[in-house]
Symmetry: C2
Subunit: 307 residues, 2 copies
């Protein structure tokens, strides 16, 4: 055992780590590694060292943990406790346009209380991936003085934990939402009107994820519009939003800057990593992905954009 202090990760990610059973129109796979923290950390790992905060059960497969380690993810914040790992199952219908959750088993997540390793508390970048807002707040409370905090959420928390979610939104620098969440949170139909209303609730930036239709970053006096990298075929959209956000945060953490230019560049890289992510099942893309392939696609993507 080393007495040297543990290194401070550039980025801390809290979220779910679980085993997913996914059915698409073409295939079905059981117990594949998933969860918002898994996707986000894996995506971020191509840019910066990420510390994962989450919980798994005694049944969590060793190969999954090995994958995290190979990606250089710091697992000091990943608790392993008695019981079964979080499980989710869902099905994609109508050519992937609609996702329906079949089952959610919280298992060890039911009693999870995230405790940050000492080194994590001094990390400059924090991503509160999709998880109960009370847990997001608990993590925020443990951080010393993070430079840039981003939170994601989902429809479930808008319905069941609105007050806590409101507190999260009031304490972050950037909120990521998808289109339905933006509308659901605000009641506004226009995406722009919804994003502007969210901006009034605290964050200095709102990032709307529109899947294959790209993303939109709204700041007090600026709008940035980014299309998505176009794909011939999507094999599994699970985790696309988390992969996008993870790539975005990883790139910001690597650059160490959060000005408009850095945010725009980070969105481009988030979009590129997410495009790889959905081309394979679950986290499979990561087994083959390399920084060189990311750069090559980023360059191709740039040539497709206005200039």
């Amino acid at each position: 055992m080393s007495l040297a202090p543990a290194p401070v990760p550039r980025l801390v990610v809290v979220g779910s780590v679980g085993l997913d059973t996914i059915r698409t129109p073409w295939e079905r796979r059981s117990n594949v590694l998933g969860g918002s923290a898994s996707y986000a950390c894996a995506a971020a790992s191509f840019f910066a060292r990420a510390g994962m905060v989450g919980v798994v059960g005694a049944d969590f497969p060793a190969p999954a943990r090995a994958l995290f380690r190979r990606r250089g993810i710091d697992l000091a914040g990943l608790q392993t406790v008695k019981g079964r790992t979080f499980r989710w199952s869902g099905v994609y219908e109508r050519n992937m346009d609609v996702r329906r959750t079949l089952r959610t088993d919280l298992n060890v997540f039911a009693d999870f209380s995230p405790e940050l390793p000492e080194a994590y508390r001094r990390a400059p970048f924090l991503f509160l991936a999709n998880i109960a807002p009370a847990l997001q707040l608990h993590v925020l409370d443990q951080m010393r003085a993070p430079r840039f905090v981003v939170a994601d959420t989902m429809d479930l928390w808008i319905r069941t934990a609105a007050a806590d979610l409101g507190r999260v939104i009031g304490r972050v620098d950037l909120l990521t939402v998808n289109e339905s969440e933006a509308r659901h949170l605000t009641g506004a139909h226009s995406l722009l009107a919804a994003a502007r209303e969210l901006l009034r609730r605290g964050p200095s930036h709102v990032l709307v994820k529109k899947g294959e239709n790209g993303s939109l970053l709204l700041s007090r006096d600026r709008i940035f519009l980014l299309p998505a990298f176009p794909l011939e075929a999507v094999r599994d959209p699970t985790g696309a939003g988390d992969t996008f956000a993870g790539g975005f945060m990883g790139r910001l953490a690597r650059d160490g800057r959060t000005d408009e230019r850095a945010l725009r560049r980070a969105m481009l890289y988030g979009s590129v990593v997410a495009s790889f992510g959905v081309e394979a099942f679950g986290l499979d893309c990561l087994r083959r992905l390399t920084p060189a392939r990311i750069e090559e696609r980023a360059a191709r993507f740039r040539r497709m954009l206005p200039s």
Copy 2:
């Protein structure tokens, strides 16, 4: 009567001219000026002189004709015949996401055979707006040697006039489609796969219109992605695609170029004009629109895009 030859318009547009009855969640208006050629010519008129090819009945209102004249649209190709003008009525449901056609009365359109004035036949740019493919072919047959031909279509013709539509697609430089038309025409679910398949059928470019999600231009070896100008509120989406295409064609006709750079710029201007179009009911936007307002919004739009 002057014996001087009529001037050759830069752009010829053939399509429908009609009176629409439109219901949105907030309002209902009867017999407002509409039709694909009306929207496209009006949008194009901010950039280049457009010659309209279409037919109206004896009941066509004088103020509508006066609006066309004020926009400098050449009406030599607009036939006026006995009978009633084409009428369409539709309703926007679910916050504008779904449009349902209530009624289509072809009226004078039933026996329409477009005959191009002599001057039109030498126009360099031709836009075959949405109209029966047989009529689009008849117009194409009358043109001497147009430099750049663009065609639009709709689901109806894919179902009822597939053979003629296939001939049109084989003879144009650029085909514009929306997402559902692209899928319907090809059977491909992925937009990119659908657009690539359409490219194989003849045109050198396929322009996919995605409404508020922007547009995509596919050429043999290039892809261009353009988001849409974001709006706080959409009042009436009727004619948005025709306005986009009309602005696109008008800008190309003004520039007199069709290289990749010119096509990309024309898409940006088409998008800007369409954004004004949907902010007001029917063609109302045009009563207030000016080139200065178009340039101002184009500049604002550019600042929202990657660079």
